[in-house]
């Protein structure tokens, strides 16, 4: 299962498309492009020379064919908007697999020196894995810096490099929240937990009252959820400075707090620890084995498509908090559009990446056609988007809940330049300890040492926690 599940979109349309004609928003690509050459581009050395508007105009009028790798269903619709705006440019859309399988193919093509696309769908967490190999194009010379205020703050820091490079344009996001079964909560007199302490108490109470039901499932194969929970708790597991320096602290005090908490609940047997996105897990959600699903903003639509038997019984709420006075959340999933450095048409490719995600009609289409959770501020405050009240959630304004959560996502979380390795090592240490109900805190130490020795082996200068 790729970590990004945000594209498993199905289910009823939560919105009409009526309003998008009347909304223009502040998203004007023209503004972005004319701003290039201004003070926002060229932020630091090595960013390349800004490309002038004349060059951009010329490039966009030259017949060009671009290739775009994406797994987003019906992406043709958004691409058609771009082709209509720039008739000289033809974009070939290729589905090379979702998430990891696509990255594997991309890496192979990059290594082979041919066959790589011009633009690519890439998840936030995978960006450093490709910048470490110098595979992505810095979009600053093409005016991307002017788009900063368009996007939710934390997404911009996710696509920015240590020296201010802009590696990609945000497309959708996954601020984390909690979906819960109102009926099960009511039946056992459980209040929606506001803190993790209350959550733990509810887990014990519920499982005691009904041994067949668990308050939640923490999937032992889902490092993305763990990273999201670390993110919420304010952890900084990976900090890079300069190309070859990395601080790995996946077993620092914050991580240990999480390890003790979740490992403890797993050991007590009051939460489930089965792998997610499997047949058994879908069945469990449909049959009411779990009373909550800790998930992200793409979760509501996904769940309404995969747990049809439970329609009307679910509600959404923010994650329980470590400090109720300072609500915070993490992010799980969401992706961006990046340009591959080897492209022969950098200008057209860069303009495509920007247009796709900032053109008002295109950005809105992602929310209405693919049910992506938006990354642009204007959509997140758009009355029609946030007032959607699907019946699967009993008429609750679910988008509003997640839009509010989105503003509490910490903006300083960083990903390692070897995410796949971190994920595999997590599953075999921390994930395994959860599944086996053994010492999770100790497993964190093993994870730390495995990652550290991998990084050193790969030539990094590693500072431990």
């Amino acid at each position: 299962m790729p970590q990004n599940t945000s594209t498993f979109m199905s289910g009823p349309s939560p919105m009409s498309r009526r309003l998008f004609l009347t909304t223009t928003g502040a998203l004007s690509l023209g503004a972005a492009l004319t701003a290039c050459g201004g003070n926002d581009s060229g932020g630091s050395a090595g960013s390349g020379k800004p490309v002038g508007q004349a060059d951009i105009d010329k490039a966009m009028k030259t017949p060009t064919e671009l290739t775009f790798w994406t797994w987003v269903p019906n992406m043709d619709k958004e691409v058609a908007l771009f082709e209509k705006r720039y008739p000289a440019i033809k974009v070939k859309v290729v589905n090379a697999g979702q998430g990891t399988p696509q990255y594997t193919k991309l890496r192979t093509a990059l290594k082979a020196g041919s066959g790589a696309p011009d633009m690519v769908q890439i998840e936030y967490q995978a960006i450093p894995t490709f910048t470490i190999t110098d595979s992505l194009l810095d979009l600053r010379p093409y005016g991307a810096a002017a788009l900063k205020s368009t996007f939710v703050d934390w997404t911009w820091s996710q696509v920015s490099g240590n020296d201010g490079e802009i590696w990609a344009i945000p497309q959708d996001t996954g601020p984390m929240g909690m979906l819960y079964r109102q009926d099960i909560f009511d039946q056992h007199g459980i209040e929606v937990p506001g803190t993790w302490d209350e959550f733990a108490a509810a887990a014990r109470k519920l499982h005691k009252a009904d041994p067949d039901v668990y308050l939640t499932n923490l999937a032992a194969n889902q490092v993305a959820a763990w990273h999201g929970l670390l993110w919420q708790a304010g952890a900084k597991p990976y900090v890079t400075s300069g190309k070859g320096d990395i601080t790995i602290s996946v077993d620092d005090s914050v991580s240990q707090k999480l390890g003790a908490y979740w490992g403890g609940l797993a050991k007590e047997g009051v939460i489930g620890v089965e792998p997610d996105f499997t047949d058994s897990w879908y069945a469990a959600l449909n049959k009411g084995k779990y009373a909550t699903w800790i998930t992200a903003a793409w979760g509501p639509v996904f769940l309404s498509g995969s747990a049809k038997a439970t329609a009307g019984k679910w509600r959404a709420a923010p994650l329980p908090q470590w400090d109720a006075a300072k609500p915070s959340s993490g992010n799980w999933g969401g992706s961006t559009t990046a340009v591959i450095r080897s492209t022969k048409n950098p200008v057209a490719a860069a303009v495509f990446a920007q247009f796709l995600n900032t053109d008002p009609a295109s950005a809105r289409m992602f929310a209405t056609e693919q049910f992506f959770f938006p990354a642009t501020k204007s959509l997140l405050t758009d009355a029609e988007f946030v007032s959607d009240a699907p019946s699967f959630y009993g008429g609750q304004k679910v988008n509003q809940v997640f839009a509010d959560i989105g503003s509490t996502v910490n903006s300083s979380f960083q990903w390692p330049p070897f995410l796949d390795q971190a994920a595999t090592d997590w599953t075999e240490t921390v994930g395994k300890s959860l599944a086996d109900r053994t010492d999770t805190v100790r497993a964190l130490g093993t994870w730390q040492s495995r990652l550290t020795s991998y990084a050193k082996n790969q030539g990094f200068t590693v500072k431990g926690s």
Partner: protein, 289 residues
């Protein structure tokens, strides 16, 4: 005469070209790759046989090899014995609906192993799998097919299910080539069905059995699809280095250690050559002694 001599190499040429391109060249390239180390920071360096030294003392690699060896020792005899029994039964002509049965046994081989692993993954499920539900219905303890202790057996079951029919067809085809005269002679000598099977059919099957055994050596040591897929539902039991082949895959595509992956693959190939040779040698010795 001269023309005939020229024809020989010509006939062999297509094979040699393909053999060179698709077998020797990749092998040579893998061997070449295995002598280097490419790192994310610092680029590529020639390291000679360092990767081999590392692999030979790498517990993940060695455990993977050990696990598939264990798998081979238990799974292959069961599978081949079943295939043999089915082949003999079909050949005996005593079965009704022989064609249907033959097809029925062979059909699992036609199911892609990806689909097979998914299907069995569902059947093994501890919550909603049919075995679990039946056990619960009968108030019996629920067998945990996906636990550490059962996993190798569960994998062996899938592989057996998939390949019994395939091996049976090979053995059955071999049986069909036994000359009718031998059976007639045996009947004249007063041999019954069991005696015929033991003294005529089994010796006739020896080359075919050898072939299926060799295929099984290669198949077992390269075990990949089934554990890779069950990994999704049992990530705590099947690690990324569960089998040697899986380990090579993980190294290349997760760790980006292409060079070390080439080393591990090369060594795995070597192990398979040695195992195949050992199997041939013991079988031949038994025949001559």
């Amino acid at each position: 005469m001269r023309r005939q001599r020229a024809a020989g190499p010509l006939f062999v040429a297509p094979f040699m070209v393909l053999f060179l391109l698709l077998f020797l060249a990749p092998l040579g390239y893998a061997a070449y790759l295995s002598l280097f180390q490419e790192r994310l920071i610092g680029g590529t360096a020639f390291v000679g046989l360092d990767n081999y030294a590392q692999a030979l003392s790498d517990p993940q690699f060695l455990h993977g090899i050990g696990r598939v060896a264990l798998f081979f020792v238990f799974q292959v005899p069961v599978m081949l014995l079943l295939a043999l029994v089915f082949a003999l039964a079909l050949d005996s002509g005593l079965l009704r609906l022989a064609r249907v049965i033959r097809l029925g046994i062979f059909v699992p081989y036609a199911v892609p192993s990806v689909v097979a692993a998914l299907m069995w993954g569902y059947l093994y499920g501890p919550d909603f799998g049919p075995f679990a539900q039946l056990s619960r219905e009968l108030s019996l303890p629920v067998p945990d097919f996906l636990s550490e202790g059962w996993m190798l057996g569960s994998l062996a079951n899938i592989v057996t299910w998939e390949f019994v029919g395939y091996n049976m067809i090979i053995l059955y085809a071999a049986l069909r080539t036994v000359p009718e005269e031998l059976y007639e002679a045996a009947a004249v000598d007063g041999a019954g069905a069991w005696r015929t099977a033991w003294s005529i059919k089994l010796p006739a099957l020896r080359p075919a059995l050898m072939l299926t055994l060799l295929f099984s050596v290669i198949g077992s040591f390269q075990l990949f699809n089934e554990p890779k897929l069950l990994m999704n539902i049992a990530p705590d039991v099947i690690s990324s280095s569960y089998t040697a082949n899986l380990y090579a895959y993980t190294l290349a595509f997760t760790g980006q250690q292409v060079n070390y992956a080439a080393t591990v693959s090369f060594l795995l190939g070597l192990v398979i050559v040695i195992a195949s040779y050992a199997v041939l040698l013991t079988a031949n010795r038994r025949r001559t002694s």
